[in-house]
Symmetry: C2
Subunit: 623 residues, 2 copies
């Protein structure tokens, strides 16, 4: 199955896909109207991977209705109707929809007539052209007519394989004081293969849902009294955190980073200096007032690190200085926008700031990119994209700090680094941060779902605000450039991603419990403890399951817990100093001596120190 | 030198010591009056290890005056005056002091007459008996007369060896709107040996001051814009933190603890449930209001851990459950009370909560005590005291939760654990926490200074407030007992203590930089890098000093940085694959092969896994 298909679609293909999907939505509504006469139409835009339509149907729909509607859609498609575009004066359109009892369409057209738009909020897309218009565009498909800006496929015959996915309630115009309509989601693709892949991906994503697996494997929890968006990490999840931290620390240590720890709060004045206040204020937790001074929870680690840089006069011999911290930041996200580990209010970032000269950026930036590649290889992420965002010269002094030369230079340097590193990247103008060019890193999980994990930023403005300098070889003070980077993103999102990526079956080095010893009968318990003890002495996380359950029950439990190794021990194993080894996959790899088992586990755990990671870091081993 | 002398003093001896010191203060003031006629007296109580007196002297004193005053004191002592007690009507006393121009004494006597006390605040001790009095007590020593409640030694001949220590300014009655007086501090002891020991200790404490060493070794810093009491850990200090954390994690893992991570904030409602609000509110940071809900920075980790305990139904098979976290808590301390790492606002605690049955407390408590002993042995702390605080039966239902049986039982259990463990402890009634008996752990540093590092508490009240239960073997729900413990205290105070204890010369496993390689000339730099690389590959923190300074300069710098090993390499060493090894003590241990050096370093670093720690934890290796 080609998991990369969706995103390798060219943008022209993508537009065609959207047009086709929206046409499929029209056919869906036509089918609903045939099955449920009197259905009133709301709106129906396309969304990523599909479409929906909101409707007021005479009776509540259930998922059982979806196959019936699909069958009706196939009937309509068999009739191969055309999509006919028609433009008419708004008044005529209003009369038409009023005559057909389509109150919601009448409301939209009246808005269009009076306000020139159908939007009620800036984020609402009502699928009707904005602008001060006197005419409306209508699309007719057989007997079905809809107010719609189009475009559509010329004929329903061009609609590819589709599937209706779900039905749910949705307030008209997202307003809880307006009527609740029914929303049907569907998807449509050019080929059956694409549709099948997408449906498989949906199934897999549900099976791999990090919230469900997080609960089943005891990784994390939320608590109403602690607060939304504030995960509490349970023992198994804490193992994941600590293993990731160990990985990052070892990798960064070898790459010449030093570590720091900074408080979670700071005075208002520091955030005024950094510019977080007032520009970032609405993403910050509100202040605490202590002895007449306002303190804020830190939304980012950079200002604290700048303070550490500034704590002593630095010389050109001291830089590049790479300050790393797995710092916990707090950001305000609206309750409604929180989502599992993917959108939270407390974020523990794999953060570091690299202070260097302009001449050093290329090497440093490339080293950071290579660190990414090393991690990708370790995690088996074979599809990634770095989106390189540059400035817009027309917005210098406005959206962008007014340093045209520095922009040009740093962007060239970053581009060169990406090229030299043979990094897979795209470039977009006008998306840079205020203070320098940046890279957003996207990865695709094992089932082809896209995640934005991290950003890299070059910052040539903020070091000056903090008065950071170094004395160059000629004894002059210069301002360093700062690179912000976080290859492993935050624990929250990274672990959310890894849960889906591995479907909870983490590689040995990362697995919360690496092996469980299963004595067949009570009399084998001492030997089981001995085997478990040997594993623990070798640094493995090994449990002994001495519950009075039968063996199959224990094996099933261990499989559900995705424990990599199950070591069954009975009379024969006790006698011979061996264990019968099963993998969580169900594979039985036979009876082996405990010595051989330890050697095997050592080798497998050692995969973390994969040659790829060594290579990626090779450049800085002599730092 | 017997460093334990001061605290082994019996309490009757301690009272005698205070009496003698206060008498010494009278002699000191008599000397000042002789030298500086017209001196007006404020007050002069005793303090820990000494005494002071506040005076208005006709000209400002400097430390150069102290030997002169000491000499005058010796003259007075040579006269062997008696201390004569005299009681007179307050009016007579007022007249006497007014006649002698002693305005401050007149003020005190007038207060005594009008208000029955000389105190202006509850914490002020003006050295005059409280109570509604009509007469005042005066003490006369030769020509010197003071208003004083006594007691005093009968004769100045009984005053032991003394030393004046410092002179500084102090507002009359601590009020910045009243005159600034001059305060002379002094100390006095029974024997010359005691005095010498104390003066040595003072000198050493200054030399070992954690704030100075913290700055010199680049361990931590404070920043005005971050805020007072909020240390930022520099790279070398972060090594200390991470090594201590690693020690705690390994020790706790072997002792059957599991680790969790919890947010630094929680809703008000949780702290109302825990009772921190309102009872502990004034030690907490003020709230942040988000979406109409108040959030607080956590002052302790326990409520978050209780939430994790409560996340699933526990059974008797699950407990003892030992939840550990190096959690950072935030507490409000007044700016004026902050002191280096010793009193801070952010505290990263070596925290854990043990949930167990009443039957399990003894073993668990003893295991915790043994963990302390293991740490003490590792750190070479040979003097410690556990202060066991029990409840006061008369205050049940008031200061103490009204569960007389549980108090009796748990106190007995703890006492038994302490006895069985041959723990050095004292017992004090009426000092327990609201919810159970506790132990405060005091240790003495290498120079005999006392530090309170940690507390252990038994808690049989709060688990019920959080509705914590386990299902016992009979299927009934029971409430567990909780033990709060933090053997390594907080990083802040522990590292402050260790800095003084080791005077910054940390043992190899803890030293921020473990070895520095010093090439004699530039041409030896590649070999120096090779040696450094081999050390780093073995997991040692090794630097290569390639600065163009001469060797002696580099050696001196390394000694100032307290780097345990200095490896000098020149032609001979390059040739032979060796290094000339110097220790930070200055000791030269000769030229040895790099292989032998690595073996030596391995062995020395391995001292952390000392048999003592293994023994201390032996009981729980099969947990």
């Amino acid at each position: 199955m080609d998991q990369s298909e969706p995103r390798q679609t060219k943008s022209s293909d993508r537009r065609d896909l959207e047009t086709m999907r929206h046409s499929a939505a029209h056919v869906m509504v036509a089918a609903v109207q045939r099955l449920f006469p009197g259905t009133k139409l709301g709106v129906g835009p396309t969304v990523e991977h599909g479409f929906y339509y909101d409707m007021e149907v005479p009776r509540p729909l259930t998922s059982d209705d979806l196959p019936v509607i699909e069958a009706e859609m196939h009937k309509i498609l068999a009739e191969r109707p055309e999509f006919e575009r028609e433009e008419m004066p708004i008044e005529t359109a209003i009369d038409y929809f009023r005559a057909h009892g389509q109150d919601y369409k009448v409301e939209l057209l009246s808005d269009l007539k009076e306000r020139g738009t159908t939007r009620v909020t800036s984020r609402e897309d009502m699928d009707v052209d904005p602008g001060n218009r006197t005419s409306a565009t209508m699309y007719r498909t057989g007997e079905f007519v809809d107010l719609c800006r189009g475009p559509h496929v010329p004929s329903a015959g061009r609609i590819g394989p589709f599937k209706l996915l779900s039905v749910s309630g949705a307030y008209w115009r997202g307003d809880e004081h307006r009527p609740m309509l029914q929303r049907i989601y569907g998807t449509a693709w050019f080929t059956r293969e694409q549709l099948d892949h997408y449906l498989w991906q949906l199934d897999e994503a549900e099976r791999r849902d990090h919230r469900r697996i997080g609960r089943d494997l005891g990784l994390f929890m939320f608590d109403e009294e602690v607060g939304p968006g504030l995960p509490l990490w349970l023992p198994n999840g804490t193992v994941l955190i600590e293993e990731l931290e160990r990985l990052a620390k070892e990798t960064e240590e070898r790459a010449g980073y030093v570590r720091v720890r900074t408080p979670h709060v700071a005075k208002e004045s520091m955030y005024l200096r950094s510019g977080h206040l007032p520009y970032y204020a609405e993403s910050m937790f509100p202040p605490m007032e202590l002895e007449g001074v306002r303190y804020y929870l830190k939304p980012m680690n950079c200002p604290h690190h700048h303070k550490i840089y500034a704590a002593q006069q630095r010389s050109y011999r001291d830089i590049p200085l790479r300050l790393a911290e797995y710092g916990t930041c707090y950001r305000y996200e609206k309750s409604g926008e929180l989502f599992g580990l993917m959108r939270v209010r407390s974020l523990q970032m794999n953060d570091a700031h690299i202070y260097c000269t302009l001449d050093q950026i290329e090497d440093e930036f490339l080293a950071v990119c290579r660190m990414y590649l090393g991690y990708f290889e370790l995690f088996g992420i074979d599809q990634y994209l770095m989106r390189f965002s540059t400035h817009d010269p027309n917005q210098l002094g406005g959206k962008y700090v007014d340093q045209p030369e520095l922009w040009k230079k740093t962007e060239e340097i970053v581009r060169r680094a990406l090229d030299h590193g043979r990094i897979n990247y795209t470039e977009t103008a006008g998306e840079a941060a205020f203070y320098g060019p940046k890279i957003d890193v996207q990865v695709w999980s094992a089932i082809g779902r896209e995640f934005t994990l991290a950003t890299n930023q070059v910052d040539f403005a903020v070091p000056e605000r903090f008065g950071l300098t170094y004395v160059n070889a000629r004894g002059e003070h210069e301002t360093p450039i700062c690179i912000h980077r976080a290859p492993l993103g935050t624990h929250e999102r990274m672990i959310g991603f890894l849960i889906e990526h591995y479907a909870g079956a983490f590689p040995l080095w990362l697995a919360p419990v690496q092996a469980v010893v299963l004595p067949i009968a009570d009399r084998h318990a001492p030997y089981a403890e001995e085997v478990g003890g040997r594993l623990r002495a070798r640094g493995f996380r090994a449990h002994v399951d001495t519950r009075r359950e039968n063996l199959n029950h224990k094996i099933r439990d261990a499989q559900l817990q995705k424990i990599p190794y199950m070591l069954v021990v009975g009379d024969r194993e006790l006698e011979a100093g061996t264990a019968a080894v099963r993998l969580r996959s169900g594979e039985n790899i036979g009876t082996i001596s405990v010595d051989d088992l330890l050697a095997r586990l050592d080798a497998e755990r050692g995969q973390r120190q994969h040659a790829a990671l060594d290579t990626a870091l090779g450049h800085s081993d002599n730092a």
